[in-house]
């Protein structure tokens, strides 16, 4: 065949491709979601959404709370980043929440959310989040929607593989994306090219006490690989934890090329019950460490930060039976366990296939010592022996998998921009829908639990481009809601998100809405500077410190005229909101403050520190529209020279 003939064929082919593209044109995204889609996401005014969706904010260090199916945003919930909107990280009470062994860290990168579970199902107590940059984990109270505890993770770099959770919230994990040299100073100051000898990964198991207190139960010291994501076993596999690992090449430069040399990396299987057994026998080694543990007290309304100095480490090379590697093709990203606990899905992000492992087969292989070798002294199970099967050519760039509880898995594909539904047992592809564009994580309400709700899947996309009205170079990230109640996935809704969503979870509204806290009881307020009635409001001087014991109630502050403050004084406004009513916060701000406002919930006390640097009279006011006379809610503070003798004076209505 001659060249021009080939061209003719190609031209014909190209022509018919174009014809077909146009003939299929009615399925544009706009029309894909017509029909009854609008009614399926319409939540009538005054009605409630069916699910709360907790979405990680990625580089904004926060979580956002969104309703499903409407996609309406309810709240930005600050966790690892300061939030001037409500003073988080600026008030004297909340600053300790962001303390670390590195000092005050006002920002982080929150990637994943885990909701607490009991018997494998959501119990509505807490949401956990991870800080990727300065390794930390956080606990958010789902009654107050407030970050109440943050624990720093020592001996870690890039806490990405976190905070995935066991079925009774016995533990959640924090594992290192970046291996680093650990130990004493002389062990940590090493040339980077000694990576193979000196760099270690760590996997911390964080115990959650019944009242919520978090502590590092133990830390596994592992070969220097990159841990990516993880899931706990459930049902029959309860007692095990599975972690995806990439960069088993142990590259430390140009990972783009050098960390994708091997055909297979690993899923690391950890028998944490075995680890518990060995610890009970006195195994493991307590090593020196330095990390912060920060807790918020709901009664004092204050956080405290404590530095801890010890962590229990286990070396799985010395303690057999804790760690096994399962080969998994090409830099696995997602590592997801199905609701039955039998199947473990690895998603090699560079592999055009999805391997599915069987827990039963894995246990047999381990029992029979069916190993294909060792990796850094740890046993590697034979790939075929643990493999249930492979989803062949499902798409390009598989990242994450969720489950609907009806035997189906849903995998997101970044490179081919789609969500693919497949049958876990038969491994057959059942359906696929495009995403707009380049989906990262996906989420089914209850998807990681033993009992998914299986009604919707939400894709959280990485690329937005032309999906919304443009807003300059930086665009919001899009989420897309699909109905998965039938055989075919149906696109129902696009909605914008805050920050960069990575993983998210959703929980039935019924589990949370009735226990949502409406206000803090003033009689339970144990803040040392609280004033529980206006007549006790006052101002006290202690050296150069001025403590204003201030009250706020509709629609005035007590006191609202203050004199006798001098330039250079440290003024602490301790403002107690005396309201005992739902949805009546008061704000507080004063001119020139080098910090954010206070946003004080009813019954709460919050403190703003202010150091005047000039004389004058400074207005302060309530920043939250609290009442019809909100605009009257104001006061004045007079500042005199540093050497002035003007006596301290505070008044209201005088």
């Amino acid at each position: 065949m001659k060249i021009n003939q080939i061209f003719s064929i190609f031209s014909s082919l190209a022509a018919c491709t174009i014809i077909m593209l146009y003939s299929c044109k009615p399925k544009s995204p706009a029309t894909v979601s017509t029909g009854d889609a609008a009614s399926k996401v319409y939540v009538a005014p005054g009605q409630y959404d069916e699910f709360y969706n907790f979405i990680s904010g990625g580089f904004n260090g926060q979580m956002s709370v969104v309703g499903l199916p409407s996609g309406r945003g309810f709240k930005i919930l600050p966790v690892f980043s300061v939030h001037p909107e409500n003073g988080y990280g600026y008030t004297e009470e909340s600053k300790p929440m962001l303390m670390t062994s590195h000092g005050f860290v006002p920002w982080d990168d929150l990637h994943h959310i885990a909701l607490s579970t009991t018997r494998g199902e959501h119990d509505g107590r807490w949401a956990f989040g991870n800080a990727n940059n300065t390794p930390r984990v956080a606990r958010v109270d789902l009654g107050t929607f407030k970050t109440v505890e943050i624990l720093e993770i020592p001996n870690s770099g890039g806490n990405h593989s976190s905070p995935f959770i066991t079925e009774n919230t016995e533990y959640f994990v924090a594992s290192s994306r970046f291996s680093v040299p650990i130990g004493e100073d002389n062990q940590r100051d090493v040339p980077i090219n000694t990576y193979k000898e000196n760099f270690k990964g760590t996997v911390s198991f964080i115990k959650v006490a019944p009242e919520g207190d978090m502590s590092i139960a133990f830390q596994l010291v592992t070969p220097g690989v990159n841990f990516d994501l993880a899931r706990a076993g459930k049902g029959p596999s309860h007692g095990w934890f599975f972690f995806s690992c990439y960069n088993t090449e142990q590259a430390y430069s140009l990972l783009e090329v050098n960390a994708s040399q091997r055909d297979k990396d690993f899923i690391m299987a950890v028998n944490w019950k075995k680890a518990e057994e060995l610890i009970a026998q006195g195994k493991g080694k307590k090593v020196k460490a330095r990390y912060a543990h920060n807790k918020h007290d709901e009664h004092t309304h204050m956080a405290t930060s404590t530095i801890l100095e010890e962590v229990l480490q286990l070396d799985p090379k010395e303690l057999e039976g804790i760690v096994y590697f399962i080969p998994c093709p090409k830099s696995p990203h997602g590592c997801d366990v199905d609701p039955s606990g039998e199947y473990i899905v690895g998603s090699g992000k560079l592999a055009a296939m999805i391997p599915v492992f069987s827990f039963t087969k894995l246990m047999q292989a381990i029992q029979n010592k069916d190993f294909e070798g060792e990796y850094d002294g740890l046993p590697v199970v034979r790939y075929e022996s643990a493999l249930h099967g492979v989803v062949e050519k499902p798409g390009l760039g598989p990242l994450h998998t969720e489950f609907d509880g009806r035997g189906n898995a849903y995998t997101s594909f970044f490179v081919s921009s789609e969500i693919v539904k497949w049958d876990i047992k038969t491994l057959q592809v059942l359906d696929r829908v495009p995403t707009y564009y380049s989906v990262g994580h996906l989420m089914i309400p209850g998807g990681p639990t033993a009992k998914p709700h299986g009604k919707y899947v939400v894709g959280y996309n990485k690329i937005t481009k032309d999906r919304y009205l443009p807003t300059g170079p930086e665009l919001c990230h899009t989420a897309q809601l699909y109905d998965i109640s039938g055989d075919k996935m149906k696109l129902l809704l696009d909605f914008p998100t805050i920050g960069e969503p990575h993983y998210a979870e959703a929980i039935p509204a019924a589990l949370l809405k009735d226990k949502s806290v409406k206000f803090y009881k003033i009689e339970e307020n144990k803040h040392p500077y609280a004033v529980k009635s206006e007549k006790d409001s006052r101002v006290e001087r202690k050296g150069n410190q001025i403590h204003v014991y201030m009250t706020s109630i509709r629609s005035h502050f007590g006191p609202d005229n203050i004199e006798g403050v001098r330039v250079g004084d440290e003024v602490y406004f301790h403002v107690t909101n005396l309201e005992q009513d739902w949805d009546v916060p008061h704000g507080f701000a004063i001119k020139g403050a080098n910090t954010a406002e206070l946003l004080i919930m009813p019954g709460e006390t919050q403190t703003l520190k202010w150091v005047p640097n000039r004389v004058g009279v400074f207005p302060f006011y309530c920043t939250d529209f609290c009442s019809a006379l909100h605009q009257e809610m104001q006061g004045y503070l007079r500042v005199s020279p540093a050497n002035s003798n003007i006596p301290l004076k505070f008044t209201l209505d005088k």
């Binding site: 065949m1 060249i3 003939q5 080939i6 061209f7 003719s8 064929i9 190609f10 031209s11 014909s12 082919l13 190209a14 022509a15 018919c16 491709t17 014809i19 077909m20 593209l21 003939s23 299929c24 399925k27 544009s28 995204p29 894909v32 783009e256 090329v257 994708s260 040399q261 055909d263 093709p329 090409k330 560079l350 592999a351 055009a352 296939m353 050519k393 798409g395 390009l396 760039g397 970044f414 490179v415 081919s416 921009s417 789609e418 057959q428 592809v429 059942l430 359906d431 696929r432 829908v433 495009p434 707009y436 564009y437 380049s438 990485k462 690329i463 481009k465 032309d466 075919k488």
Partner: protein
């Protein structure tokens, strides 16, 4: 010959319309259905740097490759953020294949095979010209390896010569004189 082309066209129209417009349930539904609605390739943007598909589409030497990429349903894939290193055989490279190879590959029933070959030309990651070191192995999208060569500045991939390189917004294109066939 003309008759043959017409037949191919007709067959292609029928089979593609069947494939493209039906519900993508069957296992033949291949790698992507982004054709089912306009995907990322439909984004209107004539200001940003061009992506690998836009660059290849404007090259008169790559009409065969571009047609093949379209036939394989990989257009929306290759306009993705990537980044990609695309080894782009010129038209003449396709002409060197045994007679009938290209025709056969373009048959809808051989779509998987066509995808496999095209995916063998793509690496996820950017290997610019100065990173083409002798003996460097790249694992391509189809999971098979290619080996780069650099002998006194003469750059190769497997047995193909790299005869030029173009930077794209989402990666780099190395123009090559032979089609890479996965072994």
């Amino acid at each position: 010959m003309k008759t043959k082309i017409i037949v191919i066209t007709i067959v292609c129209i029928f089979s593609m319309s069947f494939w493209m417009c039906k519900n993508p349930q069957s296992q033949e539904a291949a790698v992507t259905v982004s054709e089912a609605g306009p995907g990322q390739s439909s984004v209107q943007d004539d200001q940003s740097e061009k992506n690998v598909v836009q660059i290849a589409s404007e090259s008169p030497d790559h009409t065969t490759l571009v047609a093949a990429v379209k036939a394989a349903g990989l257009v929306d894939v290759l306009v993705n953020a990537g980044p990609f290193t695309v080894f782009a055989p010129v038209n003449k490279a396709f002409d060197q294949l045994p007679a009938g190879t290209v025709e056969s590959l373009l048959k809808p029933e051989n779509k998987r095979q066509l995808q496999d070959i095209l995916e063998y030309h793509v690496f996820v990651g950017v290997i610019s010209e100065d990173m083409v070191t002798d003996g460097r192995v790249l694992n391509q999208v189809n999971l098979k390896n290619v080996t780069l060569g650099n002998k006194d500045g003469k750059l190769t991939v497997n047995d193909a010569n790299i005869i030029g390189s173009v930077k794209a917004s989402n990666g780099v294109i190395h123009v090559i004189d032979k089609v890479l066939l996965p072994q």
